[in-house]
Amino acid sequence: MSVLVKNGQNVRNIVRALVEEKGREKSELIPILQDINGQFGYISDEAIKELSERMNIPGSHIYSVATFYRMLSTEPRGEHVIQFCESAPCHVAGGRLVWEKLKQELGLEKGETSDDEKWTLLTTSCLGVCGVGPVMIVDNNIYGNVTPEQVPGILSQYN
């Protein structure tokens, strides 16, 4: 199994430091998982094992939590993650055509990551910015009032 390395430290050291900082209470599990996900882009088996030992929580419980929440991932994701809102307000405002264009531009279906690991295409439920639907998020940037014609221009900003 590969050991993820970030800034010269492996994942086990980073997890250890996080538990040290936040404590071993079970209520800290989700904040710690959010932190790991933020640093590595996903939560690896390695991270779950280390967390399980440090927090004294069964690995199965950690895995079940990590797979429950949408903002946590147990699979590696692309360099840029696109989330497209598929809730009703964006749908009624013309989201369906934007979504088709997005899939066509990237050559990806929902949930897929491109072969060069550059893009991951996801859908999401309402993001609470419905006043400017259709809405999509690339990494942490929100784009509102998106039209199919704007899609190539938005994507090109990440080249």
Binding site: Q34, A88, H91, C130
Partner: protein, 548 residues
């Protein structure tokens, strides 16, 4: 304390940023300093308002004047004329109509919308949410002081009970009664939770309160804690609301510094502390017992009830869980009394309701109006009518707790009671207005897709029922449905309602029931004639590709 004469906002939506909003902002800053106006004028960026092709915008309050597309070169003239001499620069002024975002509030300032009545959103957009003094100068923490120094806990929850305030999360449970239940529990530890996991599709009212007036939530939670005897609180904010989390954290620190939160509030010895818990992306965590599970570090799966959180909530202790909008009403009720609150709205549903207006209308945005106004009024007055001369066909009132409402119900007063009697639900306050081009089968499909995805999977009726209903709707949308499907949809709707463990599954069947009750002919056209009257559904005769 600063006395702000005027507040200036610069739009910072992506399009404005592309067109130099940052340069406009920094030029404004320099010009305000150059004129020595920095003590009187506050300057912020705002993300919730934009106008296609006229960004960036500069909004001047309290005059409610909007300038657009502003360039850095325009700024010296605007500052000199408008801010220094008080003359509006008419050649750069634009109409507030068809703005998206906070438009409804802007026109209200002009006196064109007399019905709008702001309690929950009183300070939102008017004060600097990152400066506690701005909140205090606007009657902030007055209610908390009154409660701690002049009232007993019992008097406090009694005032809320008498006001008739009902939970604004969607269910409409009487807030004062909930507080009384928790106050009556003789336990050593109790909690107050603010449910800020706003995830109902089309709803962003709570986000604006959290971002625009975080101290109102802190004040209200502290009042609740005093009324029920709690010493610890949590604000559960959905993880996607980054700015709300930052602002709330800052507000908590400021309140602690001022002795308005902590171990000796107002010097009375009353202690209360608030923690923030950021959600990790799960609609179901808006359900109060799922939210509690999530704070404890578990999957957000709702508990079986009873016991209710009021007796066994967070870590099995008595817990008050209130929605953001509910809490934002509390300080005003304490300040002005229950009689004042009851004078607003309808007798069975006092107060105001915040609605988000979305869909095929001219003006989308947020309004706060007394309970009991009608959909027709919302569309014609606040939304400025249907877009492109369209016809109002259907409204969807938001998320799991809402309904699909036909045009025939547009004169029914919007309050909990009247809507219940009409067999529909107000939901979270999202009003998605659809025109003749919206297909109800397609709309129900989108909603069921949402529920299918967001079901936590704990109980079978919800996990399987939503998936089955989505499949049946997909088949109808592909033109390969049969009349038995209608019977199945009705059955699934009933079973979801009767057998699901929590509110998600119980209301997931509403769209099915609603389209069969109000739009049966349109649904049948998909089956009998193989035609989608609105021209939306694919009708390609191939539904297998929909299954994943």
């Amino acid at each position: 304390m600063k006395a702000i004469r005027s507040m200036i906002l610069v739009s910072s939506d992506p399009e404005s940023m592309d067109h130099g909003a940052l340069e406009v902002f920094s030029t404004l800053q320099k010009q305000i300093l150059a004129h020595g106006l920095e003590e009187e004028i506050s300057l912020s960026m705002i993300s919730d308002v934009s106008k296609k092709s006229q960004n960036p915008l500069v909004l001047v309050y309290p005059d409610a004047v909007i300038y657009g597309s502003v360039t850095p070169e325009d700024i010296p003239h605007i500052v000199e004329e408008h801010l220094y001499k008080g003359r509006v620069v008419e050649e750069k002024q634009i109409s507030p109509y068809d703005l998206s975002g906070r438009i409804a509030w802007l026109t209200a300032r002009k006196g064109t919308l007399p019905a709008e009545n702001r309690i929950v959103l009183k300070n939102v957009g008017l004060i600097d949410p990152e400066i506690i003094d701005d909140y205090i100068i606007n009657e902030g923490y007055e209610a908390l002081g009154k409660v701690l120094k002049e009232m007993t806990p019992k008097e406090t929850y009694t005032v809320i009970k008498e006001s008739g305030l009902q939970g604004r999360g969607g269910a409409g449970f009487p807030t004062g009664l909930k507080w009384q239940f928790v106050a009556g529990e003789k336990r050593d530890k109790k909690y107050v939770i603010c449910n800020a996991d706003e995830s109902e599709p089309g709803t962003f009212k709570d986000r604006l309160v959290l971002e625009g007036d975080p101290h109102a939530i802190i004040e209200a939670m502290t009042i609740a804690a005093y009324a029920v005897g709690a010493d610890e609180g949590f604000v559960y904010i959905r993880g996607e609301y980054g700015l709300a989390i930052t602002r709330m954290q800052k507000a908590i620190e400021q309140a602690q510094e001022y002795g308005l939160l902590g171990d000796n509030i107002f010097g009375t010895g009353f202690a209360f502390n608030i923690h923030i818990h950021a959600g990790a992306g799960a609609y179901i965590c808006g359900e109060e017992t799922a939210l509690i599970e999530s704070i404890e570090g578990n999957r957000g799966e709702p508990r079986a009830r009873p016991p209710y959180p009021t007796t066994a909530g967070l870590w099995q202790k008595p817990t008050v869980v209130n929605n953001v909008e509910t809490l934002a009403n509390i300080p005003a009720i304490i300040r002005n009394g229950p009689e004042w609150y009851k004078s607003i709205g309808t007798p069975s549903s006092p107060g105001t309701k915040v609605y988000t207006i979305l869909g095929n209308v001219n003006v989308t945005g947020l309004i706060e109006v007394p309970m009991g106004i009608t959909l027709r009024e919302v569309i014609s007055i606040y939304a400025k009518g249907m877009k492109d001369g369209g016809t109002f066909k259907v409204a969807q009132t938001g998320g799991s707790s809402g309904s699909i409402i036909p045009a025939s119900l547009q004169d029914t007063p919007m309050d909990f009671d009247s809507y219940n009697k009409a067999g529909v639900s107000l939901g979270s306050g999202a009003l998605l207005i659809g025109n003749q081009d919206v297909c109800v089968v397609d709309l129900a499909k989108v909603l069921l897709n949402f529920f299918r995805f967001e079901s936590c999977g704990k109980c079978n009726p919800c996990r399987i029922g939503n998936k089955r209903a989505f499949d049946v709707l997909s088949r109808i949308a592909e033109g390969v449905g049969n009349l038995q499907d209608l019977v199945d949809l009705q059955m699934l709707s009933n079973q979801l309602f009767e057998l699901s463990n929590c509110g998600l599954g119980q209301t997931a069947g509403s769209p099915l029931k609603d389209i069969l009750a109000h739009f049966q002919a349109e649904v049948e056209a998909h089956i009998k004639l193989k035609v989608c009257p609105a021209g939306v559904c694919p009708m390609s005769g191939n539904w297998e590709h929909q299954i994943d």
